[in-house]
């Protein structure tokens, strides 16, 4: 019996390819009885080609389809047309050909021979070769992984006949597939409800179910451009991008092929799976896949019935040997990784702005960096945490439990003072991150920040300087100067955690931005995954920098714009950089703008209202000590010589330094209101100002980078060494002396900063509040301050800038404010008025009057109040307990979550996962699951 072959060519607006395809079909040694072209093109060129095609032979026919239809529909239509007139289909086979393919002359003959030789073979497919390289196999047989993800058995491999022994496969691509007509009729062709990339797999599985074999015939060779897979066709062809089509295909196959219960559970769990996939994709540094994966999951979730229609009750047990093995999947992933790395390296070699170092750079450890870090930690001996928590100056302890710390973070109701429905400071996310390192005792990790601050800042500065200089001496000396600058030391001694953390973060921020933008003398970015890691790290550090020092907003925005310009070729990836910053800060910023109506409140430091003087430009930059000031002036003068060199970057860095000085002026021009949580224990002042340290550190980092570039460019090594040595002796050493001898306001002790009785009661779950009263001014004209302390206490994470600035906003209404003020007025006047009702209304169970000049009269007034029992003197002042505490109830319901907070946390976790460096092994494992084998269509 001789097999009668009819060919169906599916054409869609590819005139050049179509011409080749039709010519190739004409050249076949085994002639097809009929050749039908199903055309959906709108191109005139295609029409001309097809007219010539029809004229060439009576066996040729064309069906034009004006409506948009997918491949399965076109194939069904074509087959139906081409088989018209055949009474017996047993000896007929259909050869489906894509217009972007060109079968070699013996391809059909080889395929037909296979079908003739083996009646059990229902479908035969040729080896698919690259159009421009006939030695490259682009595909040879399809299968699925154990989780029904489509898998191309051979993908972009050089043809060394290593796969010529291959025969039976689970499925084959529809291109150049030869299928028995009766099998086609039995199966009904491709599934119309399956997405395009699942149709051929699904057909293959059904063919097996029908008792036929599906084979690959390596001796049959077809060149295939795979236009759909390479996104070179109209997106309607696949219903979106190739990746999206593949994700849809995976979901379809899972729902249609999994056992019913599993399929149903899979469908139910799709939202949860989506969430996991997002985090996983972040972790494996493929955030670009999140969009289409989510879309595919949504598509599957809402078209469940259509997926279920393709269920045919097939048992896959007999087919399991045709599924992709673990080894195949693993080797494919490794191959994909290597190809990606090769591409990245080639790209970096070709067009990167990065300049490969001319000489080998010493690693940080090899350059003695660890010893210097140790020395710097020793220099900060005053901050060695001899107690669990730091206090004094700006410093306050964190909440004792991680849950409390978490509750005080993000955009949920703030249980501080009078209470406020406003987002917490974005800085709380930084506190949460640090506290989470020792989640069992958040204060533990936090208490080490000050002692390690200089060491970490040095490390960061060293890494940053390594981007502009390969000379170890320059890097070490300038990094040392950065770590010991007067502005930094001042923030450290004042316990100004936001400024200290900002100063540590800044060099790392610039370093990671440089890496992400591939700026600098060397780049270690070797893969897409690494590039994503740096982008994510930049994003997180940018958010940290803004959270710590909102006053540097202008500088941060300028910095991002500069890097965006430098990395304009990779601007797409850098667009994600502001996402964590926006997610963490937007609710707070919106509240300051809309709620408090304080546009400048956005720039307020996230600290207690500790009385700090207005920053003066000169002192902020070079400190107060006259000798050290002159040393630093000398250093700045030295850096200015770089402007006379040929290094273009120096001028840019100087402009940035000047911008930092301008920002410093702006910082000194914004007066913030005093008050807020914990202010009752602070010296009363009219106004407080942002710390000058962040802007000063910005200035310093720009100057030091400019200096490093210039020093590095000096060719005369002797002169260069003299300058570096002079910088060390005249600047670094005096700074070290200053660092070691500066007196600190910070002390370490236990984390309790309220009377033990109150703390003990709140630890037992009591929601009683404590009223703290303090007097200011002279007897007779004194004024009183009152602060309501809630059970959360006065902790760094309970400090709310939104709350502080809302106190100056008359528009904000606090129901208890008036009651509390009247209660305070009556208490201090000791007029004998009954206060029980007022105390109950505001939920006050304790009253504390700090020990300070002027408060003695208040203490004595409280002794006369019959509603109070004097507890006694505590280390924080005189304490009274309200007699009727058992009758006091409060509505202190703490919500750990809010929708906004969930979004913030998700973004944060996602970017942390994206930023986390992953080992090579992990990358492979990752790719096993989610790698995209380039299954051909």
């Amino acid at each position: 019996m001789s097999l009668r072959v009819v060919a169906v060519v599916i054409s869609n607006d590819q005139p050049n390819y179509l011409q080749n395809c039709l010519s190739a079909i004409e050249r076949q040694s085994y002639r097809a009885e009929r050749v039908l072209v199903v055309d959906t093109s709108t191109s005139e060129e295609v029409s001309v080609i097809l007219q010539d095609f029809i004229k060439a032979s009576s066996k040729h026919a064309v069906v034009n389809v004006a409506e948009k239809a997918d491949f399965a529909e076109l194939a069904a239509l074509g087959v139906k047309q081409v088989l018209t007139g055949f009474s017996n289909l047993d000896d007929v086979a259909i050869w489906l050909v894509h217009d972007d393919s060109a079968p070699e002359s013996h391809a059909l003959a080889e395929l037909a021979r296979t079908l003739e030789l083996s009646p059990l073979v229902g479908i035969a497919s040729p080896k698919q070769l690259a159009v421009d390289n006939s030695k490259l196999i682009v595909q040879q047989g399809l299968t699925v992984t154990r989780t029904f993800k489509p898998f191309s058995i051979v993908n972009d491999e050089l043809d060394q006949k290593q796969h010529d022994g291959m025969s039976d496969v689970l499925a084959v691509t529809s291109n150049a597939m030869l299928i028995r007509a009766n099998l086609w009729a039995e199966l009904g062709g491709f599934s119309l409800s399956a997405p395009p990339l699942a149709q051929d797999v699904e057909l293959g599985i059904r063919a097996h179910q029908a008792g036929f074999r599906v084979v690959v015939v390596p001796t049959a060779r077809v060149k295939h451009a795979e236009l759909s897979i390479h996104n070179k066709r109209d997106k309607h062809w696949l219903g979106g991008s190739a990746k999206y089509a593949l994700a849809k295909a995976t979901n379809h196959l899972r729902i249609s092929q999994f056992p019913l219960t599993v399929a149903f559970l899979y469908w139910l769990a799709l939202p949860f799976i989506s969430l996991i996939q997002i985090f996983w994709l972040m972790f494996v540094k493929r955030p670009d896949r999140i969009g289409f994966t989510l879309r595919a999951n949504l598509w599957a979730f809402f078209t469940f019935r259509a997926r279920v229609r393709d269920r045919h009750g097939i048992s896959h047990r007999s087919l399991s040997n045709l599924f992709a093995s673990r080894t195949q999947v693993r080797s494919r992933a490794r191959l994909a990784l290597e190809i990606a790395e090769q591409k990245s390296n080639l790209s970096a070699f070709d067009g990167s702005t990065a300049r490969v170092a001319s000489s080998a750079q010493l690693s940080f450890a090899a350059s003695g960096g660890l010893w210097i870090m140790f020395a710097l930690a020793m220099l900060s001996y005053q901050f060695f945490p001899l107690g669990a928590a730091a206090s004094g100056g700006f410093a306050l302890p964190l909440s004792d439990s991680w849950l409390a710390l978490f509750a005080n973070t993000g955009a949920s109701y703030q249980h501080v003072g009078l209470g406020l429905a406003a987002p917490s400071d974005p800085f709380n996310w930084v506190l949460l991150s640090i506290g989470s390192l020792t989640f069992f005792s958040p204060n533990l990790a936090f208490s080490f920040v000050l002692v390690s601050a200089k060491a970490l800042a040095f490390f960061g500065a060293w890494r940053l300087l390594s981007l502009v200089s390969v000379r170890n001496g320059i890097r070490i000396v300038l990094a040392l100067i950065y770590a010991m600058l007067p502005a930094f030391t001042l923030a450290q001694t004042q316990g100004n955690y936001p400024s200290v953390i900002f100063s540590i973060t800044l060099p790392w921020l610039l370093f990671s931005f440089s890496r992400a933008a591939r700026v600098g003398i060397s780049s270690s970015v070797r893969s897409t995954e690494q590039a994503w890691s740096w982008v994510a790290a930049s994003s997180l550090l940018l958010a940290v920098a803004f959270a710590c020092a909102p006053s540097t907003l202008l500088l941060l925005v300028s910095m991002v714009l500069v890097f965006a310009f430098l990395a304009r070729k990779r601007i797409k990836a850098l667009l994600v950089v502001p996402i964590p910053l926006i997610a963490l800060s937007a609710p707070y910023v919106i509240y300051q703008l809309m709620g408090n109506q304080q546009p400048f409140g956005v720039l307020a430091d996230p600290t207690i209202a500790f009385a700090n003087e207005r920053p003066e430009l000169i002192n902020s930059l070079i400190g107060f000590d006259p000798i050290i000031s002159w040393c630093l002036v000398g250093l700045i003068g030295l850096a200015s010589f770089g402007l006379l060199s040929s290094m273009r970057a120096v001028f840019g860095l100087w402009l940035f330094a000047l911008l930092a000085v301008a920002n410093l002026w702006l910082v000194g021009s914004i007066a913030f209101s005093f008050g807020g949580v914990g202010s009752i224990f602070l010296e009363q002042v009219e106004r407080v100002y942002d710390s000058a340290t962040p802007s000063a550190m910005f200035f310093a980092v720009a100057i030091l980078l400019a200096l490093a570039i210039w020093l590095d460019s000096i060719l005369h090594s002797g002169f260069r060494k003299i300058l570096v040595l002079a910088s060390f002796v005249l600047v670094a050493m005096p700074l070290a002396y200053l660092s070691a001898t500066s007196s600190s306001l910070v002390s370490f002790g236990d984390s309790r900063n309220l009377p033990a009785l109150f703390t003990a009661e709140t630890n037992q779950g009591s929601e009683l509040r404590m009223l703290v009263i303090s007097s200011d001014g002279q007897t007779g004209t004194q004024r009183f301050r009152a602060e309501l302390v809630r059970s959360a206490g006065i902790r760094l994470d309970t400090i709310s800038t939104a709350y502080r600035l809302s106190a100056a906003n008359n528009e904000v209404d606090y129901s208890n404010k008036e009651k509390l003020a009247k209660l305070t007025a009556n208490l201090v006047s000791a007029n004998g008025q009954s206060l029980t009702k007022s105390l109950k209304e505001v939920g006050v169970g304790y009253i504390l009057v700090p020990e300070s000049s002027g408060n003695g009269d208040v203490q004595i007034a409280l002794n006369t109040a019959s509603e109070l029992d004097q507890v006694g003197t505590t280390e924080f002042g005189q304490l009274w307990r309200v007699k009727v505490t058992n009758e006091i109830t409060t509505d202190e319901t703490k919500a750990l979550w809010s929708i906004t907070k969930s979004i913030q946390l998700s973004v944060l976790v996602g970017f942390i996962l994206l930023a986390m460096p992953t080992s090579r092994g992990r990358k492979q494992r990752v790719s096993n699951e989610f790698a995209e084998p380039e299954e051909a269509q």
Partner: protein
Amino acid sequence: MVMRILKFLSVALIATGLVLFAKSSDLFDTGSQNYASYQVSAKNLQLNCTGPAIVTGGSTGTSVTGFKRAGKTSVGISYSAAKNTYLSLFGRRSIPGYSIRQDIEAKISTPEALTVKDSTGKVAQGSELLTANQLQLVKHKRINGLMASPCLRPQSEFWLVGGSTKVGREALLVLNNPSLVDATVDLEIFTENGASHSAGLTGIAVPKGKTTVLPLSSFVLRAGSLAVHVVSHGGSITALIQQKAVRGIFANGADYIAPSEVLTKDSYFPSILVRGADDTHKLRAAGAKYSDIQNMLRVYVPGEVDAKLTMQILGTTTETFGTVLQITAPAGKVSDFEIKGLADGDYLGILNSNVEVRSSIRLVRASASGDKFADFAWLNAAQPFTTTRYVAVPRSGISKLSLVNSSNKQTTVTLKLGSATITRRISANSAEVIRATPGISIGIIPNGAAIHASLLVDVSGRISVIPILDDKNISGQVEVSVH
């Protein structure tokens, strides 16, 4: 190269411009913490008179615990008799308020309290409502001198700058607790050697309704210069130092040291009325026992920065010429500086300091002939005030009210003396001395500029100074800022 030089110059120019001209000021302000006023009723105003002079040594003069009162002391009271109020006069009788000012004199033999009871709780408190002082000319073999002090509102904290525990000098700290709550008192004592770290300075019990008398020599023996900080916990108290001098075997000179005012850089001392300067000089030359008969400035400098002081003693008339001292007082210590060369006349003192200090002046008056005596008075820096204050004038002796205008502009002061009203003009940085009518209180009404005032009382040549205070409890409009 030209471009590089231009870049260099442009950067240098911008940097210089920023540093020199970009001075920060409050261009943008996020508002300030709001204080809101609340009307509250006040606690009844109570003034506590410390009672007659205390004689140590018991009946034999050798007891270390026996404190006896010497006779009775006169209390001068000025009560406005505002409507809805009545004055409880030492718990013995009540004087109802019928809107006519009452000047009363009474005698007490123990510490006693005056209370104005206000049924509405809304009557404005202060010296206009009630003021009182006590005056006693003591002529006891163990204490001799004119002793005057204001009757004080019980409080929690006092600073007493004055006194000495040198040989022949006795300083008694008199702590009265008129409240219904026991008080515990902590002391800080500063001398010419700095802070004292003696045992027993804390936890001193002053039971409710009782008086505790402490010889300061038990804490700081033979200290020439004293400043005492008294802090009460529990109940409110009054505190005074009773200082006496024994010259040879005779007591000669005594006074109370009243609480000092707040820390200030600029202190004003009215009532430096110098009389018998020649006699003082003669006595001082006569022997060591009179060596301390010299007008003297005492300064306590808290903190860690030495005070650079300028003390100007200015005459109030064209006939009197003062003196100027340029001195430095060490931080953390109490320093005395003699004010020499003052002839008889009326003066005012102005003390300027670069840091905030507490100060007082010891004024001496002596007679080298007849009834040979040497008395002294401790004069605190006077409070500035711009609202009406009253002072009760003792019925005995000569009382002179000194008024100082500390402003740079001439001002006028209205004085209410019984039904009479007079206005006096006071030049800038100058003083006026007015002789007061005995037994008739004086109302001092400044007209704009802040006034400092005190009343010097002279009984038989002995002197004492009564500060013009304005005691009031927290009442009326109380300003509260809620955080």
